[in-house]
Amino acid sequence: MPNIRSGFVFDECLNSAFLAELFDGDTIYAETVFEDFLRDLPVYWQRVDNAFENENLPVLGTCVHTCKTLFGYVGFTDLQELCQQFENNCSVNRMDDLRDDYRLLTERKEKAQRVIEKEYNRLREYNEANG
């Protein structure tokens, strides 16, 4: 595996110190992971939406748990924490108590998706320029 000391700087809203350690300068692998994130998140989040609509709290918690892991791998460690709280609340609260949190989580998810789309394109350009 290449171990390129990279000059690429991740967006400030990501945990760039963690990403630097996770990818160890391998921007090509980072591009792959970001691409996989953009492919997988909509599929997993659809399950979150379905569980919410069906008011199935245990399944909702499990689906958010899965998305939480994805956010972590692209450096959204704060969003990962938010998902953890929501996941915990799914096992103790009622659906009505979760509606505002769900809305907030969905907004944050959409923002995260836009950031990662941008980062993915930046990584692609960076890797093409330094290939």
Partner: protein, 239 residues
């Protein structure tokens, strides 16, 4: 010495990272990746590996269900993003716990620890008897309390796995040796010893009675693991 492993993980990104780290470390060979417990168990019924990277929350059965059904004892590294499972991990005597997402450095620390454990377990294997066994009972020597202690097999009630150690329980006292239950299993092959749970081997001649899925020996209660029930029933002629 490379460890063989399988990855049981339903999130592809997480599994890919693990595979990549295994290749990078050059200490672990990935034999397979499974998205659920059922497929993993089917593989483990046919093939043995040294190590399992095991997620907990997966579709269908969870990681602990897999551990209940295992019929042998590979090393286990739980990979999860929930810290609430730490207590369960302790109960199942797993070898390490990696909170996702983890870095290569954290992964490497875990694998190196397991490698040392595997090497130490081999080195501290039960020594062969220094004299010929008596005509009535066999015995073995275990390293404990800075000496080799002679134990008559017939005195042993059961053995219990305690992470990096094995506890021998006799009516008189207990002995703790630095080894693995798997190692002891290989040394105690014979008609009287039976593995009834991932963490227990019992001397079947010492069983008082069995109630439900619990074996009673001289006041001790030993659970029968789900993956061992059929074998226990067959061996003990339970009708």
């Amino acid at each position: 010495m490379k460890l063989s492993c399988i990855i049981v993980e339903d999130i592809q990104i997480a599994a890919d990272f693990l595979r990549k780290f295994c290749e990078k470390s050059d200490l672990v060979e990935v034999k397979g990746h499974f998205l659920n417990v059922s497929d993993a168990l089917e593989y483990l019924d046919r093939e043995k590996v040294d190590l399992l990277f095991l997620d907990i929350e997966m579709p269908g059965a969870n990681g602990f269900d897999l551990l209940d059904r295992l019929t042998y004892s590979p090393m286990i590294i739980l990979t999860t993003s929930k810290t609430e499972y730490a207590f369960n991990a302790f109960q199942y005597h797993v070898d390490d716990y990696l909170k996702k997402p983890f870095t290569f450095k954290r992964f490497q620390e875990s694998i190196q620890k397991l490698q040392l454990k595997a090497a130490a377990a081999q080195a501290s294997a039960v020594a062969p008897p220094v004299s010929a066994p008596s005509t009535d009972t066999d015995f073995l020597f275990i390293k404990a309390e800075d000496k080799l202690i002679k134990l008559k097999k017939d005195d042993i009630l059961f053995l219990e796995s305690m992470r990096d150690y094995v506890k021998f329980v006799t009516p008189a006292r207990n002995y703790i040796t630095y080894s693995t239950l798997k190692n002891m299993e290989e040394k105690l092959i014979g008609p009287n010893f039976l593995k009834v749970h991932r963490s227990y081997i019992v001397n079947i001649t010492k069983i008082d009675d069995i109630r439900g899925n619990t074996i009673y020996l001289l006041g001790n209660q030993i659970p029968i693991g789900k993956g061992h029930r059929d074998e226990v029933a067959a061996k003990l002629n339970i009708l």
